[in-house]
């Protein structure tokens, strides 16, 4: 009976278990930090277990959405609580629950404001999971924004020396992106016939009836107007990815955030932009996305080259000039890796998208682990200078570092290699 109740609403459970955990923590006394830590570990673990169950019962042979739940939320505005998952989101859900669970343990070292920290952390997890399961644009947007608040506090309160600046920069940047998305969301709603926020419905041809527009006598044809909508949406996602001109918040936020939050940022948050492109831009505005694909490929290339050069500069630039920082190196390498994801998407083939998703998952895992390692090392030696480690690093974190490092710099056998290769090969095919 109870088991059925859980299996019928798997996705809801995954999303709301962390929120239940928040409720539990709220009633725990402030002066028992270990109890709070274990409670949050328990709830994230439960969420992880449920997501394993989800993967287990996910039917791989079947295309389309599974585990769909749909409930009217605000009937007058046609908003639904509509969740479901397909192969794309299930990967991301698994990644999120796994990393969140691991990060709870990485957060053991947080001494100050433990209760607040774990409350915020669980809220963040719920927000991230919510984004990956939502199939209603409004719901998607709520979860998308819901993440901002805990992230702001997590960076701002428990971060490094420049945490305030990093936190507000992250907040302003992402809010800017999401309000642009809000415009698109509302236009989708009012141009669709019948008015709907349903992402699946909107993707059906003929639902979205965008009209010509006239702003102060300047005519904007349907084609151009849709392109404008696409660009607005793209900027919203590009800030999260981050795509080249919008990336400046990322190194700062990564460096200043506490280790587990850097892990979440690199592991999950960056994937959200790419996920949003795949979930919303590709199906709903396919022609515009196709029109933009060359630009997307170029932006991806810039990300790859620029990110790699910036990461490299960390080796040569002295610390006073903002270089020589291990965390920053990984942050820039994330920009580089997200470039491959963009590239994979830009080629518009099955292999390309596959490669992109694969890369998303792998990058999520490897970069996250690298950040964890940096955190471990930092806890012991209290610096992150790249030239500050000699042989003693090997005594600290022996082989695992090497494996992971090579995972990031694509080596055969290791997983990222496959993903990068996929993206590149399809690009060659396409050209």
């Amino acid at each position: 009976m109870l088991f059925n109740f859980i299996t019928d609403h798997l996705l809801t459970w995954i999303v709301f278990l962390p929120i239940l955990g928040m409720g539990a923590i709220l009633f725990l006394p402030k002066d028992k930090p270990n109890l709070i830590r274990w409670t949050s570990a328990f709830f994230t673990f439960l969420s992880f277990l449920v997501s394993l169950q989800l993967c287990w019962s996910f039917n791989r042979a079947e295309a389309g959405l599974q585990f769909v739940e749909k409930m009217a939320w605000i009937p007058t505005f046609n908003i639904h609580y509509y969740v479901g998952c397909d192969g794309l989101s299930i990967t991301m859900i698994l990644l999120t629950t796994l990393l969140s669970f691991l990060c709870i343990f990485a957060s053991w070292g947080i001494k100050e404001g433990v209760k607040g920290y774990f409350l915020m952390f669980l809220l963040l997890e719920a927000g991230m999971l919510g984004v990956f399961v939502s199939l209603d644009f409004f719901l998607f947007y709520i979860f998308w924004e819901l993440m901002l608040l805990p992230m702001y506090f997590l960076i701002g309160i428990w971060g490094g020396p420049k945490k305030e600046y990093a936190a507000i920069k992250f907040f302003l940047y992402t809010l800017f992106g999401s309000v642009l998305m809000l415009i698109v969301m509302l236009s989708f709603y009012f141009y669709s016939e019948p008015h709907t926020f349903d992402l699946i419905e909107l993707a059906k041809p003929g639902i979205l009836k965008v009209k010509d527009l006239n702003i102060f006598g300047i005519a904007l044809s349907v084609v151009d107007f849709k392109k404008v909508l696409f660009i607005l949406l793209f900027i919203g996602f590009a800030i999260k990815v981050p795509v080249f001109p919008f990336h400046t918040w990322l190194p700062l936020a990564h460096v200043e955030a506490p280790t587990p939050i850097s892990v979440i940022l690199a592991g999950v948050l960056l994937k959200m932009g790419a996920y949003g492109l795949l979930r919303i831009s590709f199906p709903i505005l396919p022609q515009e996305t196709y029109w933009f694909s060359y630009a997307l490929a170029i932006l991806g290339l810039i990300n790859i080259i620029y990110g790699a050069f910036c990461a490299m500069a960390q080796l040569t630039l002295p610390q006073e000039k903002g270089g020589n920082d291990w965390k920053k190196l990984i942050a820039y390498s994330s920009i580089n890796h997200m470039g491959y994801v963009l590239l994979g998407m830009a080629v518009f083939t099955t292999e390309g998208i596959n490669g992109a998703v694969f890369q998303m998952f792998n990058h999520g895992l490897t970069t996250a682990m690298l950040f964890l390692l940096v955190g471990v090392v930092y806890d012991r030696v209290h610096h992150r200078r790249l030239d500050g480690f000699g042989r003693e690093l090997f005594t600290l974190v022996p082989l695992s570092v090497l494996i992971l490092l090579f995972g990031v710099y694509p080596m055969p056998v290791l997983n990222l290699m496959k993903a990068s290769l996929d993206s590149l090969l399809t690009l060659l095919q396409a050209s």
């Binding site: 007058t76 924004e145 701002g156 309160i157 305030e164 809010l175 800017f176 509302l186 709603y189 009012f190």
Partner: protein
């Protein structure tokens, strides 16, 4: 005398409020206790609220010889004002700015403003409109200067008075011109004359501008906003909270009723309006709306005083609400009313926390918020909820309010204003988080938590919960507001 008793019944909320006003004085004289006076005022407000709910069963009609209108629109606002006054009283009790022995004075004046506002929203005659508007204004001047010993409060009162006198004088001139043109005081007859006889557009335009002066002053829209920061800053905090919410809502209510009835006509489609030919006040207001929100937000960026910052933010919010005004559709008006309700909770809440803190520190500097999140987490949490809601971040009510305002614009495809509003949202995040930063990101200087009375804790909870709940489930309120918009009754 069937009709007299009916008229009186329809006017019962105001009558009850006036009786309460008298009782407050008597009770205070006899008991000399602030508590009894306070309770009397609350009981009066609750019964006035009850009366305005009870008279909802009467069919919409004009009463008092066509001076006032009984319709869902005015009832909605009456309830709104009574609730706002109720919270103001809860706020003012034991506030450091309201002396114990002068409590009765405070209640008396605030109730008088409430009576004025309640009459104002149901006025359909220029005479009653102007009289009730003046009742609101003149008592407000006194309220702004309530802290006699405080120079800023005195300055606020005199600024408010001078500016207000100028504004209402100009408006009166506009109204008298309107009477001269049409020969009628009733807004429906004025509209009938204006839409059939073609007047000189220039004359009509100047009338619109003059009337706009008066209303714009009340809702503190640019360029009639100059008084607002000083008055909100100088007035006692409960009064400032009251001013930013109730008279502003009254201004919006009468603004909507007057402009949509007198200078607008039904476009033929249901729930759509058009402006009178040659007088495109909707476009004019859309420009004012863009300037109002931008100016309010940009000025708020530099403030170091929480009250002053919130004052500028309330100007910005007037700009947001004007967006619903200019689309000339029922959706737009619904979104204004919805936003007003949401705005009441979040803005009043923010002022309330500022006031609670000021009771301890005796000033409202943002720096005194330092470390509040560590010493009194719940108060700081509520403040953060109010501020994020004011920014318009989900899952708080402010977001939903903004979504409705924005969607009214999208529906009419007024994208340029939408872009301005959206950029403003981002700007406003910066200064709202300024307080949040002080509260949570800074460490406290002392460990002493903020002591607040149970009454104030209760009030805070009453304000926080709607800010949350309306962000997640707003359907009932939205439906109620949709039904409240039948303000055009056919006589």
């Amino acid at each position: 005398m069937e009709s007299l008793s009916l008229n009186l019944a329809l006017y019962s909320p105001e009558i009850i409020l006036s009786i309460t006003l008298g009782f407050v004085l008597i009770v205070h004289m006899i008991s000399k206790s602030n508590l009894f006076t306070f309770l009397t005022a609350l009981v009066g407000l609750v019964s006035a609220g009850g009366a305005s709910i009870a008279i909802q069963s009467f069919a919409p009609q004009f009463f008092f010889a066509g001076q006032l209108s009984h319709d869902p629109f005015s009832l909605f606002f009456k309830l709104f004002f009574i609730t706002a006054t109720f919270f103001t009283f809860l706020f003012s009790y034991r506030s450091y700015e309201i002396d114990e022995e002068r409590g009765a004075e405070f209640y008396l004046m605030t109730l008088a403003v409430t009576v004025g506002m309640c009459t104002l929203v149901s006025s359909i005659n220029l005479l009653s409109l102007y009289l009730s508007l003046e009742l609101v204004s003149i008592v407000s001047y006194a309220l702004a200067g309530f802290r006699k010993e405080h120079p800023a409060s005195n300055e606020a009162a005199i600024k408010y008075l001078l500016y207000g006198a100028f504004a209402s004088g100009t408006m009166l001139w506009g109204l008298s011109l309107l009477y001269g043109f049409t020969g009628s005081l009733n807004i429906y007859s004025i509209n009938a004359t204006l839409s059939t006889n073609s007047l000189n557009p220039l004359a009509l335009y100047s009338v619109v501008l003059m009337v706009l002066f008066g209303f714009g002053f009340k809702i503190s829209s640019v360029p009639f906003h100059m008084w607002a920061p000083d008055v909100y800053h100088g007035a006692p905090t409960p009064t400032a909270a009251f001013f930013t919410v109730a008279p502003k809502a009254a201004g919006f209510a009468i603004f909507i009723r007057f402009f949509y009835t007198v200078f607008g006509n039904n476009s033929g489609l249901p729930d759509q309006w058009i402006t009178l030919p040659h007088v495109d006040w909707a476009f004019l207001m859309s420009i004012l709306s863009a300037i109002t929100m931008t100016l309010g937000n940009l000025c708020a960026l530099w403030q170091k005083n929480a009250k002053r910052m919130l004052a500028y933010s309330s100007i910005a919010h007037a700009g947001y609400m004007l967006m619903g005004f200019i689309v000339l559709s029922k959706e737009g008006l619904t979104s204004i009313l919805f936003y007003l309700v949401v705005y009441f909770f979040m803005n009043f809440g923010a002022f309330f926390v500022v006031g609670l803190l000021a009771n301890k520190t005796k000033d409202e500097e943002i720096s005194s918020f330092k470390g509040l999140g560590w010493t009194s987490p719940w108060v700081a949490f509520s403040m953060a909820v109010f501020l994020f809601s004011l920014t318009g971040i989900p899952p708080f009510a402010g977001f939903i309010g903004k979504v409705y305002l924005f969607s009214a614009l999208v529906q009419k495809e007024i994208y340029w204003l939408l872009v301005v509003a959206i950029l403003n949202t981002v700007i406003s995040l910066y200064y709202y988080t300024y307080i949040v930063r002080e509260m949570f990101l800074e460490r406290p200087t002392s460990d002493k938590p903020l002591l607040i009375s149970p009454l104030h804790t209760f009030t805070l909870i009453l304000l926080v919960i709607p800010t949350f709940v309306l962000g997640l489930s707003w359907e009932p309120l939205f439906k109620y507001i949709s039904n409240s918009l039948q303000f055009i009754v056919t006589p």
